[in-house]
Structures are given as structure tokens and as C-alpha cells.
Amino acid sequence: MKRFKTTKGMIGIILLLLIALVAIVGPMVIPPDAATAMDMRARRAPPSLTHIFGTDQLGRDLMYRVILGTRTSLEIAVSAVVMSIVLGLPLGLISGYFGGFVDNVLMRLVDTLLAFPALLLALTISAVLGPNIQNTIIAIGVAFTPYLARIIRGEALRVAQMPYVEAARSAGTTDLMIMWRHVLPNILPAVIVQGTISLAFAILAEAGLSFLGLGTQPPAASWGLMIQASRDQLDIAPWTALVPGLAVALTVLGLNMFGDVLRDILDPRSK
């Protein structure tokens, strides 16, 4: 069991390191313009020796585009999820811990945001702020916040009723310290799990925004943009969806494995 956990963790870490390497080094080592150069004679070419992953509808090499897209996709997804945690964690924590009136006010606010589909919300924000990377991050980060806040509130509500929280209160610990020392460590596993899942959705949300012309602007590449573009050629050129899709799947797999192990490392009971 233990060994399995560590191998799982190693695989996760190796995957994430590889992806990070591609994101950082990739754009520097690929030939300039390789990812944007169009070859109209080789449109939708299946994987071959000249184009290992095949080409898209404009004859651009998919391998180079995936490498180029890694940085954009991860930059946006990771920043957006970090932002939604930074916003959602205090919201959910305060709401769940104090309950009552505070909880009612904060959660009605969150419910209002939840009433709009996340993508529509992101779309509105992005449209108002204008299309660039920072604004895409803000749009997705804000749109994801209510989901995170909801989950954290539920966990905080559960932990706040544990006897060790009551014990801390009767020992004269202030509310702020109880939240920091007792509630936060005990809800962290849920935050980690939700965070890794959100990353996958954030990559796809960026795709949606790009599709509507508000996210990544062509000819720049992102995984989401590539998946979105492959939509109407799935039957004749499935690799155009498969290649970026695989990149998303591997990233999420690596994150999930790493997230599981991280959660176990943080939990003293699993040692």
C-alpha cells in the first residue's frame, strides 16, 4: 500500500515536471514560427514522420502547437485556480465557521454568482475587461470562486462542529486562531482535491472563452483553443482533438496523482 502510494506520487511528480519543462523550455527550443507556419498542401495531414502528431485545418504542425499551447493553458489555468482559492477559501471558511447571519449574507452572495453558468459569468467579465491573458485569468478565477467557496463552507461547517474545535474554544483560543490552527488543516484535503479538479475545468473554460474570441488570440496557441477548433472536423481528422485532449488528460492525471499524495503527506494519520 505504502509503496504503491509512493510510486503513484513519483509518477505524478514526473508527469508534472515534464509538463512544466515543456511549458518553460518548449517555446524557446522549437523553431521560430514552426507553430504558426501554415502549409496549405498538408491540411489535416494524419500523423506521419514529417508531422509526428499530424496537422490542423490550416496545415500547422500539431506537435509544435501543443508545445506552444502548454505555457498559455497552464499559465491561465493555474493562475485562475489559485485566484479562486485565494478568494473562495476565506469566504467559505468564515461562512462555515461562524454560521448564522454571516453565513446567510455570504452564501446568498455566492448563490447569486452560482445562478449564472460559470462560463457565462467568465464571458461577461472577460468581455467587460477586454481580451488578454490577465483578464482571462481574472474572469475564470472569479467564475470558479463560488463553487470553491461552497465546498469549503461545507467542510468548514463539518469541522467547526468537531469536539476539538469546542475544546479549543473552551481553552480560550480566539476565533481567528481556531480557524487557522484547527479548521484550515482539516479542510485542506478537500481544497486540494477540488483544486486539482478545477484545473482541468479551467483549461477547458479558457477554450470556451477563446472560441468566442475573448481568450487566447490566434495565431497564439492554447490547448483549449485547439480542442475547440477540432470540433467540426472530428470525423475526418480525429487527431486534431486527440492530441490536445491527451495533453489535458495527462496534466490532470499528473495533478490528481500528485494531489492524492500531497493530501496523504499532509495527513499525519497516513504515516
Partner: protein, 603 residues
């Protein structure tokens, strides 16, 4: 007569990531028809694994029977080798020829089925009865377990019944196919003492009327004394000792059995003694000798509670308005002297925990006054209340839940000291070391996490945390209820020692009358939010005046097989509810003083 069950050199292993772990080994016993065999042991002794093996249910928990023979005599007179039986045959045996009662009646019943459905399913499956015949039989069964208004109960769901009634339904389910063997795994552990008495009497009567054998699994020696014909004592997956109930209780051979029996408090053994006494522990003679004669203190009031009332709103309707109130604590008054213990006893829902929490203002009382050392706790603002908490600490029931799993014990014990800025740096370190020594926890435990400790050790850590700020009052809410009996005795002795040395006052909230009899100076009996009787321990136990106190005391099982109390079915008491409409104005609690300090609630 041939034995119904014979277990021969049973060995059960559990596969884990670190290789196989032995659950039980070398376990052998037999059960004759009409006999009650009690398997007794502390947690982790393998008693449940043994019973689950008999049903071959142990496989569903990841266990494997690796050695030994389990023979069961079936209804048609043939013998069945349980270890080799096919799952089809076991399906016929389970619930049909062997009935089982579980510990927690709420989880043993499926919440979405009516009582009728729960009872008829097994009958239709095993006996091939039609729906009508099964329903008729279900009604008979409910009558045989003496549930009031059985016709109405059939159409009800489990949550609509009280705990005692639910356990009666579970027993009716186990009895439905007239099994030859009834396995009862801690059937009364989750129940109140008066309901426990009813259920034990019911099992006894059903056994007598149907001539079935009973395998009764429990950790409670007093229940064993009341129920068993023969006893198997288990420890660490092995049988320590086997014998008739009289042999085991009067002439135990093994040291473990002797130690187990010694640690059990027997109700009534403190008759004629005024002061509390330490628990008996074998091998702890030195500590017992060290017990000084109770210091005669001048009675000095520490805690004074006046007309304390706590009510919880019951919300209802679309607008979530308050539609009724739970009268959890109703006009409770008492005083507690420095260096003394007041025990609040009563059954679940009587308000004893709410009373303790209201005093510490962990929940806000509705009205009333709480004075600790000349300070009105109820009048303090948020800031002063936090300061005042240094004087009053709490020890909780569940030592697993009352320590934060993510923090080292050192940090948790140090937390109250840091909160009040009492010490820091090396002073703090020294103080924590001193506290660990004080509760006799090894110093190397300071850097450990709670899950690395046993239940008793955790409770010691929780006591160390409560002691950290030198409190005057400790509210102990069922502080030893979750512990095994020998560990319970050690923790109780530690608490009494601390009381003598530090002059602590305890508000000891408990449902266990035998424990209370040993450790309390004063006892208050609570029922439906009120104290119905309060006074010196000797007066309340030796001369109970209120009918509720009397019924409570008569329901306590005594750890002596010659003092059996539950031969006949006991009268079923209706459940009373502490929920009243908003307009309800309860009468004041008025008391008659029948002896100095001994008060009884006027009806």
C-alpha cells in the same frame, strides 16, 4: 444433548498492506441448546471477529478463516461445516437458523423501509410465506417483543421509533425465522440503562420461551454477570479463560480475568462510606496505599448555579420560524464546593450535557446565573469570558474527536497556555513536560500525533490540556465512557489523584451509576431537563426518594451473577419529550429537603 455450535481452533487473518494480521487465533468453544454463552473482552480482543466468523460474515470485512473448524447443527439435525459451506447454503442459514442483533439499532434498520417491510422480507425469503401470512407473522413478532401499539408500528419508519423500540424491532427481525442460535453483538451498548434492562430481560424471556442458544458479545462485565450461563474471556485475539459464570466471577484463575473484574465498579459496594474511593487496580497496590485519608476541607463554594435554563428553538414552516422549544435545561440550581465532585447523572436527552455546556457558556443559556469564584459568568462580555475560561476547563467524551488529528500533542497541550500568555519559550516547554509527567504520559509522546495513541492515552492528553491553565473547575462530560474498563479505572484514579493534589472541582457528567458511586461527593439526578433529586452521594444512592432515581438505580446491572435482576420482562415506559410549544410556561422547580442537603423535586 448435542452442541448447537462448536468452534475448534479458529484462526482468522486479515490481509493488509503490511502482510497478514491475525484477528483471532486458537479460539475454541461450544454452545449447547438453550444456553447463553457470553464472550467478553476489551476493544480489539477479537470478540466480534469470532461472531462474524460463525456467520461467515468476516469475509465481507476482508478476513479469511485460515485454520480451524466451525460446526453448526442445522434445524434438520444435520451438521454443517461452516468453513466449507457454499455461499448459497450460508444464505439459508443466515437470518434463518442463526439470527443476529447488532449494536446500533438505527443503522441496522434501513431508514427508507417501514417496520413491516423490514420484518416480512426475511419471512418471505426464508419461509416462503405470502405477503398476508408474513404480515400476520410480523404483527405476532412485534407483540412477542412487547412493542406497544404493534399495528401502528408496522406502518412506521425506523426514525419514528425510540431507541429502545428500534432495538426491539431488530430483535423481532432476528427472531422472525425462529433461529436456533441468536448472536447478539453488544446489543445494549448504545442504549440507556433503563432501556438496556428492558432489552436484556426481553432476550432472557425469548431464550426461555423458544429454547434457543444465545451467543452474547459484550465488553461489560456487569451485563455478563446478569446474562451468562458460561463465559469466554478474550484478550488480544486469544481465549484467556472459559468457565461457568460463577467460576469466572468468584474464582477467576487467570491474572487478566482478575484484573478485569477488579476494575469493574459494583453498584452498592460503597454503601455506608461517605467519601469517594479510588478504583481497584491489580498491580497498583502502591498507588492505593498512597491514598491519603480525605483531607477535611472547610466547605468553600466554587460554583453556584441559580435557576439555569437553556432552551433550543425548533424551526419549522417555510419561513423557518421558531415553532417550538426544546427545554434542554429547566430551572436547575446547585452548588459545587472547592475540591469536590458533583456528578450529574441521567439518561440520554435528559439535559446533563447541555447543563455542563451552558455553565461554560459553550452554549448560551436562556436565563439563570452561573457564579464561579464570586464572578457571574453569564454577565461577562466576549473578551472577559475568554479570560474567565482559564478557570473552567472541559474534558470531552470522545478522545478521538476532541484532539485535532493534524497537530502534535505538545502543541495541543501548550495551546491554552499560549492563549493566556502564561508562559513562552523554555518556560512553556518545561510546563508542558511537567503536564505530561503529571498525567503519566511518557515524554516522548509530546511529539506524537493523536492517532498514534490509545484511547486512554489520548484522554490523558486531553486532561493534560485541561490542566494546562490551572483551572479551578473541570467539566468532565462522559470523560471515561468511551474507554475500556481497565483504562477507565486508571483514568478515574488519575482524576481523583489530581483532585486531591490540586484541589480541583469536577462537574462529572455521566450515565454510569456504578462509576458515579465511587467518585462523587454529591449527585444530581437529571430527568427532562430538571434535577429531580440532589444530595450527598450516600444519601441519593442509599435512600433514593424520587421514583425516577429509584427506577434508574434498579435498572443498573450488577457485576455479580448471584444478584440477577432481569429475569422477567420489565414494564415498557412511554417516551417523554422535552419539546414544548412556545406558549408553554413550565412551573418552577421546588424541592423538599428530606435530609440535610438531600433535595427531592416536588411532583
Amino acid at each position: 444433548m448435542k452442541d448447537i455450535v462448536s468452534v475448534d481452533h479458529l484462526r482468522v487473518e486479515f490481509a493488509t498492506g503490511d502482510g497478514p494480521v491475525v484477528g483471532v487465533q486458537d479460539v475454541s468453544f461450544t454452545i449447547a441448546p438453550g444456553e447463553t454463552l457470553c464472550v467478553v473482552g476489551e476493544s480489539g480482543s477479537g470478540k466480534s471477529v469470532t461472531s462474524l466468523s460463525l456467520m461467515r460474515l468476516v469475509e465481507f470485512g476482508g478476513g479469511t478463516i485460515t485454520q480451524g473448524a466451525l460446526t453448526f447443527m442445522r434445524a434438520d439435525g444435520t451438521t454443517l461445516d461452516v468453513t466449507a459451506a457454499s455461499s448459497q447454503v450460508m444464505g439459508q442459514v443466515r437470518g434463518n437458523e442463526i439470527g443476529m442483533i447488532f449494536q446500533e439499532p438505527m443503522t441496522a434498520l434501513n431508514p427508507v423501509f417501514t417496520i413491516e417491510r423490514q420484518l416480512t422480507d426475511g419471512l418471505m425469503l426464508h419461509k416462503g410465506l405470502t405477503q398476508e401470512a408474513a404480515s400476520a407473522r410480523a404483527l405476532d413478532l412485534l407483540k412477542s417483543v412487547r412493542i406497544p401499539e404493534p399495528e401502528r408500528r408496522l406502518r412506521q419508519y425506523p426514525h419514528e421509533l425510540s431507541g429502545g423500540m428500534r432495538q426491539r424491532v431488530v430483535i423481532a427481525m432476528a427472531m422472525a425465522c425462529e433461529p436456533k442460535l441468536l448472536i447478539a453483538d453488544e446489543p445494549t451498548t448504545a442504549l440507556d440503562v433503563t432501556i438496556q434492562a428492558e432489552i436484556l430481560a426481553l432476550i432472557n424471556r425469548l431464550k426461555r420461551e423458544n429454547g434457543m442458544a444465545v451467543l452474547f458479545i459484550t465488553h461489560d462485565m456487569a451485563v455478563v454477570a446478569q446474562m451468562a450461563d458460561r463465559v469466554v474471556v478474550m484478550y488480544h485475539g486469544r481465549i484467556v479463560e472459559t468457565g461457568t459464570v460463577e467460576q469466572i466471577f468468584e474464582n477467576p484463575q487467570e491474572n487478566y480475568t482478575k484484573a478485569l473484574l477488579a476494575a469493574v465498579p459494583k453498584l452498592g459496594e460503597m454503601k455506608g462510606k461517605a467519601a469517594p474511593e479510588r478504583m481497584r487496580l491489580i498491580g497498583d497496590e502502591a498507588a492505593r496505599a498512597a491514598q491519603t485519608a480525605p483531607k477535611s476541607r472547610k466547605p468553600e463554594v466554587l460554583l453556584q448555579v441559580k435557576n439555569l435554563t437553556t432552551r433550543f428553538p425548533v424551526k419549522g414552516g417555510i419561513l423557518r420560524r421558531t415553532v417550538a422549544q426544546v427545554h434542554a435545561v429547566e430551572d436547575v440550581s446547585f452548588t459545587l464546593n472547592v475540591g469536590e465532585t458533583l456528578a450529574l447523572v441521567g439518561e440520554s436527552g435528559c439535559g446533563k450535557s447541555s447543563c455542563g455546556r451552558s455553565i461554560l457558556r459553550l452554549i448560551e443559556p436562556t436565563s439563570g446565573e452561573v457564579w464561579i469564584g464570586g464572578r457571574d459568568i453569564g454577565a461577562l462580555n466576549h473578551h472577559d469570558l475568554r479570560r474567565a475560561r482559564a478557570d473552567m476547563q472541559m474534558v470531552f467524551q470522545d478522545p478521538f474527536a476532541s484532539l485535532n488529528p493534524y497537530r502534535r500533542l505538545k502543541a495541543q497541550v501548550a495551546e491554552p497556555i499560549q492563549n493566556f500568555g502564561l508562559a513562552s519559550g523554555t518556560d512553556l516547554e518545561a510546563r508542558v513536560v511537567q503536564l505530561f509527567d503529571r498525567v503519566r504520559l511518557p515524554r516522548e509522546f509530546m511529539t506524537r500525533f493523536p492517532h498514534e495513541l490509545s484511547g486512554g492515552q489520548r484522554q490523558r492528553a486531553a486532561i493534560a490540556r485541561a490542566l494546562a491553565v490551572n483551572p479551578k473547575l473541570i467539566v468532565a462530560d462522559e470523560a471515561v465512557s468511551a474507554l475500556d474498563v481497565s483504562v477507565q479505572a486508571q483514568v478515574l484514579n488519575l482524576m481523583m489523584e489530581l483532585q486531591e493534589d490540586l484541589g480541583l472541582s469536577y462537574l462529572f457528567i455521566s450515565h454510569d451509576m456504578a462509576v458515579v458511586e465511587r467518585i462523587a461527593h454529591h449527585v444530581g439526578v437529571m430527568y427532562l431537563g430538571r434535577i429531580v433529586e440532589i444530595g450527598p452521594r450516600a444519601a441519593v444512592f442509599d435512600n433514593p426518594q424520587h421514583p425516577y432515581t429509584q427506577s434508574l438505580l434498579s435498572a443498573v446491572p450488577i457485576a455479580d451473577p448471584r444478584k440477577r435482576r432481569f429475569a422477567d420482562d420489565l414494564a415498557f415506559k412511554p417516551i417523554t419529550s422535552p419539546i414544548f410549544p412556545l406558549s408553554y410556561q413550565p412551573a418552577k422547580s421546588t424541592y423538599t429537603e428530606i435530609a440535610p442537603g438531600h433535595l427531592v423535586l416536588n411532583a
